[in-house]
């Protein structure tokens, strides 16, 4: 029998269409904020990302949030960024995660501190996301630290994820970045939220033509639009997101934008599912986590 490090690894390895969902930790120490979301989402996805001070705003840590999820019986994906920690702290946190039963890690470079609520902070960026993936992969598979020294007391058992943005520039480098993350040792990928299906399909065509979809499990990102204001923010202000005019107009003209946002999300899910090589959906419902159960149910994902 195959031994899997996590349920997410099992689901993806067995070819089940995987659902992951993001849970944003609170700007405070109240565990209830995560526990109530956990209660709402239990059973509605295979694993749950806890973000690591996303957009460089101080929140309860990803590690701490993952422990709260584990206590409630949800499988966590610990997001870990290079913005706030150097290679020493990153490796140390990876060991601690594995020791506590957190076995999925999403490796990111991280949003720049300028976007957050402490723009006067010094960013670390000692290593980048590709190097982070390779470092954790070498810890897991070769049992060595970044400096080449042997890990003497237990290799971390980690299922390694990375991010991909098919919509950023230069487009020619987007598939190459994916390829680099695969070579660095990533097991799964969660993409930037997909709105521009045409561009996403174009990226996936290139991914398949290089056979990369056979080497890594790709989960397409999905962020339902809750309001016209949110559509505006995503279209004009969030770096790396590509909201086509047609979707933006639909949101603007809708009588009930929230309902329209959900309809659009359901349409996107159906179309994304049909793209060859996509192995799952990663739902980031910003400030709208309670839509996830119905979205998953109505789209027949789970």
């Amino acid at each position: 029998m195959l031994r899997y490090r996590s349920n997410l690894e099992k689901v993806l390895s067995e070819g089940t269409f995987a659902i992951t969902a993001e849970i944003g930790p609170p700007k405070g120490a109240d565990p209830q904020k995560i526990e109530s979301k956990a209660a709402l989402l239990l059973g509605h996805a295979h694993a749950f990302n806890i973000t690591d001070n996303q957009t460089a705003v101080v929140r309860l840590s990803s590690f701490g949030g993952c422990l709260l999820l584990l206590n409630k019986g949800l499988e966590p994906i610990m997001q870990i960024t290079c913005r706030d920690r150097n290679r020493i702290a990153l490796q140390s946190d990876a060991l601690a995660a594995s020791a506590h039963g957190i076995h999925n890690v999403l490796c990111l470079t991280g949003d720049h501190q300028q976007f957050g609520n402490h723009p006067s902070a010094k960013g670390v960026f000692d290593i980048d996301s590709v190097q982070l993936i390779q470092m954790l992969h070498n810890m897991r598979d070769q049992g060595i630290f970044q400096n080449g020294e042997a890990i003497s007391a237990g290799k971390p058992e980690l299922y390694l994820g990375g991010a991909a943005n098919p919509f950023a520039d230069p487009f020619e480098l987007r598939v190459q970045r994916l390829s680099k993350k695969i070579n660095a040792g990533a097991d799964f990928i969660q993409t930037q939220s997909v709105y521009n299906l045409e561009k996403f399909a174009q990226w996936m065509d290139e991914v398949r033509s290089q056979g990369l979809d056979k080497k890594i499990h790709i989960l397409a990102g999905l962020t339902p639009l809750k309001s016209v204001k949110m559509a505006e923010r995503m279209k004009f202000y969030v770096p790396g997101v590509d909201v086509p005019d047609s979707l933006y107009q639909r949101m603007k003209q809708a009588k009930d934008p929230q309902e329209e946002g959900k309809t659009i999300a359901l349409e996107l899910i159906q179309k994304i599912k049909q793209i060859k090589g996509i192995r799952g959906i990663h739902i980031t419902a910003l400030f709208w986590e309670n839509i996830i159960p119905s979205l998953v149910k109505e789209s027949g994902l789970l």
């Binding site: 290079c82 913005r83 290679r87 470079t109 991280g110 720049h112 300028q114 960013g123 960026f125 000692d126 290593i127 980048d128 996301s129 590709v130 190097q131 390779q134 470092m135 970044q146 991010a163 991909a164 943005n165 919509f167 950023a168 520039d169 230069p170 020619e172 480098l173 190459q176 970045r177 390829s179 680099k180 070579n183 660095a184 930037q192 770096p239 790396g240």
Partner: protein
């Protein structure tokens, strides 16, 4: 070139207080940046005198960061410097500290903020180029430094934030990885991009050392 900018006048005035003050400029970088050349030194002198602050004298060192040369040049202003209780230095942090090494008992006032090691694009327009990391990687990236020019110092390609070739941090700035990509493509050298660049060896930097 060490790029600097003059501190706000109110900050300089607050630091000087009642004076008296001796003003020191620099003939090199601070002159080219128009922050501490003769013109700026004299302008500041006039401004201080208009506020009834005694300026005992002034000099433009050639350059301020040359310890022995500065020592020699300042000797000829011995009396003027003795009369001043504060030395206002219009040079980069390097020049300010060189003067501080020479006058341990005087109050040293830095009249500039030192910004970066960079290029003069045209008069009063500068661009950062080098972080002095101690191990040059420019051969790999078509002569363009991602450690210095990418806000996230990414060595393995662009983050996901660039839009229309512009950096997510400042939409006026081109994404440096976009430029590296174009230049590598021009040189038919894109395969470099496929190599995973290893974490940088920061022990090569002079962060932990003081002299060479």
């Amino acid at each position: 070139m060490i790029i600097s900018k003059q501190k706000p006048l109110t900050d300089i005035l607050n630091a000087i207080g009642d004076g008296p003050v001796f003003i020191i400029g620099c003939s090199e970088c601070a002159t080219l940046c128009q922050t501490g050349g003769e013109t700026e030194v004299l302008a500041l002198k006039k401004m201080l005198e208009n506020k009834n602050i005694l300026v005992t004298g002034w000099i433009v060192l050639d350059p301020a960061c040359h310890l022995n040369n500065s020592k020699r040049l300042l000797k000829s202003h011995k009396q003027e410097i003795e009369k001043a209780c504060k030395l206002l230095v219009l040079a980069c942090g390097n020049g300010v500290q060189t003067v501080a090494d020479l006058y341990e008992k005087k109050t040293i006032i830095s009249g500039t903020d030192t910004l970066f090691l960079g290029q003069i694009k045209r008069t009063t327009s500068y661009e950062k180029k080098c972080t002095m990391c101690g191990e040059c990687l420019l051969d790999l990236f078509a002569g363009t430094c991602p450690i210095s020019l990418c806000p996230k110092s990414m060595l393995n390609g662009p983050c996901g934030g660039a839009k229309n070739g512009k950096c997510e941090i400042d939409t006026e700035l081109p994404c440096i990885w976009d430029i590296i990509y174009q230049r590598l493509k021009e040189k038919d050298n894109l395969e470099i991009f496929q190599i995973i660049q290893q974490p940088k060896d920061w022990s090569k930097s002079h962060e932990m050392r003081r002299s060479f």
